[in-house]
Amino acid sequence: MLGTGILKGMVETAKNFAGSYHDPERLTTVEYPEQRIASKENARQFPFLVHDTEDPMQGLRCVACQICEKECPPQCIYIVKSKDKRADYKGQMQLYPVTFDIDLSVCMSCQICVEVCPFEAIKMDTEFELSNTDRFGGLLVNKHQLAKSNEHYRKIHPTEAAVSDDALAIEVAKAKAKAKADVEAKAKAAADAKAKAEAAAAAAPVGVAATAPVPKPSAPAAAPAAAPAA
Amino acid sequence: MTPLSGYLLVSALLFCIGLAGALTRRNAIMVLIGIELMLNAANLNFIAFWRFSEHPETQTGLMFALFSIAIAAAEAAVGLALSITIYRHFRTANVDKVKDMKG
């Protein structure tokens, strides 16, 4: 009969109305500033720079290679390289960024900078309340604001951070192994040279002795290179 | 209190405005509007004469006005339907251009 459908619908909406008061399961609304949902692990919003040490500026992983600057689709990253070098986490001497700015109003959070970074130095944050009252100054984020610790990264993206840490650990292990191999090789070479020299000295004890110290400086030269890796 | 002549003059004025419009305007709908105005002027006459008559309790003028309103409504409906048909046929609402007898 005409009208029964209307009545059925009205009963349904009345159920919704009453139910929304006593059944909190029905209300899916989150009243945002007061209530917050814990952010999802895969959430991403605006990059940050990872640092490893207490002093953020000293421990930045970034080596100012400018790959991200070149790859950034909206061209929102601005990097100035340093003149000098400093040792990175592996003990290798590297450049570092004097300036590292990202324009918040241009960035589209595409994560391409993260994808291309070979040093695990730039990662995506989950912070989304980035609005600012200063339209011109406040939206250009410099490296002091961008620097966040690796602990922060572990906290917001645990799975990714574990992968990243493993990769870095492998790198460090490789570097150590390489350094060790270098030291051993050099020590071996020195020993070989020494043995050769001794053999030569034994063969021609006079006259050739003046040439014997030639390979000597190579052994002390290898020692400082291995030291920071330890 | 306004005398009868006041209402009659207003009515005559309305009638003549309607007459002038119906005679001069080219658009068929404007001609109809003019005719409506004339009918309304007549209505005002009916009411005014009823009110100022010797026996207003007979309500004859009111009856005339009511019937005339109903007729005017019917006339408007038919007239406007006609003008729409004319427009559809001749692609104009200008009464001067509607000269052909043949469809």
């Binding site: 005409l2 619908g9 909406t13 929304s20 209300l27 | -």
Partner: protein
Amino acid sequence: MAELFAKLDQFPVTLKAWLMNLLQGFLPEWTLPLVSAAISITPILAVFPLMFALTTVIERKGLGRIQNRIGPNRVGIPLTNIRLFGFGQFIADGIKSLIKEDVVPRAADKVVHFLAPIALLIPVLLTYSVLPFGKNMVPLDLPQTGLLFFFAVGASTELSVFMAGWSSRNKYSLLGAMRAVAQMVSYEIPLILSSLTVVMITGTLSLTAIVESQATVHFGFLHNWHLFTPWGLVGFFLFLTAAAAEANRTPFDLPEAESEIIAGYFTEYSGFKFAIFFLAEYLGLFAMCGLGITLFLGGWLPPVNIAPFTWIPSWCWFLGKLSALIVLFIWLRGTLPRLRTDQLMGFAWKFLLPMTLINLVVAALWHLLANNIPLVARWPLGFAMLAVPYWLLGRSFEAKFTKREYRFAN
């Protein structure tokens, strides 16, 4: 006790008489009718726009709850943390619409565009002048033509809607105006015909007399509301349907279907003019509800003639019934989807019009057979005479569900 409540009931009337007495001393003779009118108008202009303001919030909250949302609950007293459950929202909305820029399209007909909201609001406000809000509380008592005045003034809103739509020079506006005018003209007929039953039974067009005619008592306690008769019951629902269409409320809100034609005839209005359209629309709905209450729900009468109900002031009964009807309309808005234009017109002409005509016949029979057949037999008879055509006419409007065949999607 009863006297005290009677005094409370008549408080607005006595207040006005006291004010008039006070003013009589030092105001010139010719201003007194104007002052009296102003005193009568003031409460209408205070109560109903306030009611509109509260309704906007309640509607949004209610619709939210119906959709399992929370609805507005933020705006309260500024600079404090007091939120008043969001009931400060209408003040914020009002201030916003007052200070917003008033944009008039360059191609618009400026004069007509300006006049349209005024021409809409004035007739709507005029309709309130004949509604009896309480015992002895009717601003303008027209003993001969009360109901006719209501419909005559209500009919003139159609032209304002057309003015708004046409003057905007916008296709959506014109489309909305055309839909609105066609709908209002079509639904005016069932509206008037369904209220005509009451006029037929009571033999008067005066709204106060219609309310008083419902004051007789059945079985010693039940007031003779017209709702309690078969023709009144059916007539009330027909009236309510037509009133919803007249007021452009949801199942019949095609003229301002926001998903199709933006906002219909007031698409090109902004700022305070938009607010006036909004206000006029809701005030029109309230006036329609008020008329329905007066005609079928006993106006300011309580439902039963027993002590605690009779103590409540008459104007409280009126406003209470009005609020109940407003809640019903909000509930319907939360429930029903919008009709299509052909469904809308078909419903008016193929269902409402025949039903109102049959209802007229039933009411006439009810009146004729009043002395011949006892009430117990008349009621089922009348109801059956209405239920059978309802069932027959309604059959063609029922949805026919067939399994849809997709040509490409399978």
